[in-house]
């Protein structure tokens, strides 16, 4: 070794070239192991734990006074708003087959009701120009017209024991349950209108829940039932591993 002065040995005996070779080998092995994988199975517990803690943080952060604000100059998405449903084709309520559509509001309420579209439209109406936040990362500005959720809750005399609410649909078995505070946010509506027109089947006709405080997948389209519950009830995407809370 002393015959080659270019081979440098540090005081503690770590040979530089060995260090480089072994070091880069380890680093590349770690990288290769991690590439496009879901990560080690052993981490699942840790990730679940983090999700529970994040849920607590997010619910603490939630304020009824925090409003979604559309940026000045933002354009409406219009027909660029993507249309998602889980059924193989656009779910359409066939009156000839299923009878007249009605929204059932039940569970922990003093006055369970079945509301036709006309009944919904008689309740106080609001139009919110808000952002749509998709879990994929895109946003879209739209104006949603419908019944403020708080008005609906008052109409059915919400029981204070109701801590969660499940939004169910006729798009196969799609549903998503929410914490009650997000549902009672001022910008949450049961929407039957989009951009000044009646809601179309592509976006959840006859009625859907819409709120900027939840990611897109939490906003159930093609509503059939709104059920108030004492405990959470999962959801179509939540059960497949997306966060149950999905708050924005």
């Amino acid at each position: 070794m002393s015959a080659n002065p270019r081979r440098f040995v540090s005081v503690n005996g770590i040979d530089r070239r060995d260090f480089l070779i072994r070091g880069s080998g380890l680093v590349s092995a770690a990288f290769l192991a991690a590439c496009d994988s879901r990560g080690p199975k052993a981490a699942d517990k840790l990730l679940k734990y983090a999700e529970r803690k994040n849920l607590a943080v997010e619910r603490k952060l939630f304020r009824h006074t925090s409003m979604d604000v559309v940026q000045a100059g933002a354009h409406e998405a219009g027909n660029k708003l993507p249309s998602y449903y889980i059924a193989p084709t656009v779910p359409v309520w066939e009156e000839s087959v299923r009878g007249k559509w009605a929204l059932e509001v039940s569970g922990l309420v003093g006055n369970p009701v079945r509301l036709t579209l006309a009944d919904l439209q008689k309740l106080p109406q609001v139009s919110n120009r808000v952002n749509h936040y998709c879990v994929e990362g895109w946003t879209a500005v739209e104006t949603w017209t419908g019944v403020p959720f708080t008005e609906l809750a008052r109409f059915v005399r919400l029981d204070p024991r109701a801590r969660y609410v499940d939004f169910q649909s006729f798009d196969d078995d799609y549903h998503e349950s929410w914490d009650i505070e997000s549902a009672m946010h001022k910008q949450t509506v049961v929407a039957y209108g989009l951009d000044g027109k009646p809601l179309e089947p592509a976006h959840g006709a006859p009625a859907r829940v819409y709120s900027p405080v939840k990611l897109g997948y939490k906003n159930t389209k093609y509503l059939t039932k709104i059920v108030f519950m004492p405990q959470m009830n999962g959801g179509y995407w939540s059960d497949q591993g997306y966060e149950w809370y999905g708050g924005v």
């Binding site: 270019r6 440098f8 540090s10 005081v11 503690n12 770590i14 530089r16 260090f19 480089l20 070091g23 991690a34 590439c35 496009d36 994988s37 879901r38 990560g39 981490a43 840790l46 990730l47 983090a50 999700e51 994040n54 997010e58 952060l61 939630f62 304020r63 925090s66 409003m67 979604d68 604000v69 940026q71 933002a74 354009h75 409406e76 998405a77 219009g78 660029k80 708003l81 993507p82 952002n131 749509h132 936040y133 998709c134 879990v135 994929e136 990362g137 895109w138 946003t139 879209a140 500005v141 900027p212 405080v213 995407w237 497949q240 591993g241 997306y242 966060e243 708050g247 924005v248």
Partner: protein, 222 residues
Amino acid sequence: MVGSGLRIFNAYPAFARKGEMFCCYPFEHKPIPDWLTFGGWLGGARHWHFAMMWLLVVNGLVYLTFIYLHGEWRDLVPRKGDIRDSWQMVKFYTFRRKDHPHQGKNNALQKTAYFLLPVFGALAVVTGFAIWKPVQLSWLTAIFGGYVWARYWHFIAMLAMVILSIGHIFMVFAVDPYSLPSMITGNYDPSHSPEARNARPFYHLFPRRTPAPPMPPPPEAT
């Protein structure tokens, strides 16, 4: 964090709001290669990202507390002349200056990089919160120009950190590999410093320019 972030980004590899165009990203709608991503799928990557973000935050706070308590932040704050000195380092590395500019612990380019890294780290964290909670923390999102721009700055902060880290690691191996053992042991031989060796990248791998001393004549046979 980078890999899972890129996996999330790939779910919508663009910045434009639906129905709009985005000015400032040349690769709109072109996904990042899968081998650079981590998490396997959108939901999995989100779980990794939202779990590990706390580690990044804690790590950053420990780092800042440490350099504050040890006074080492003084080595990092930019000073007058740093830009000029950085330019001298660039000139040296590009063979437009012969001798290594004089430096203390770190040269001006290093100082700039080590100052910018935590700045971009903090930017990544803060813009991260801005796009995690654009309604609940709408005031924060507004500071960065709204959700679309906050998401863009989050991406830029990541890119800057990746570039700085790759540059840093490259320079460690290419210019000052003698500092590698000293990162663990603390011993550093100043006679091997890049300044003492007048080292440009990979200098230590090239043969010396100075001619070898003449060979002594072979001993006379007796």
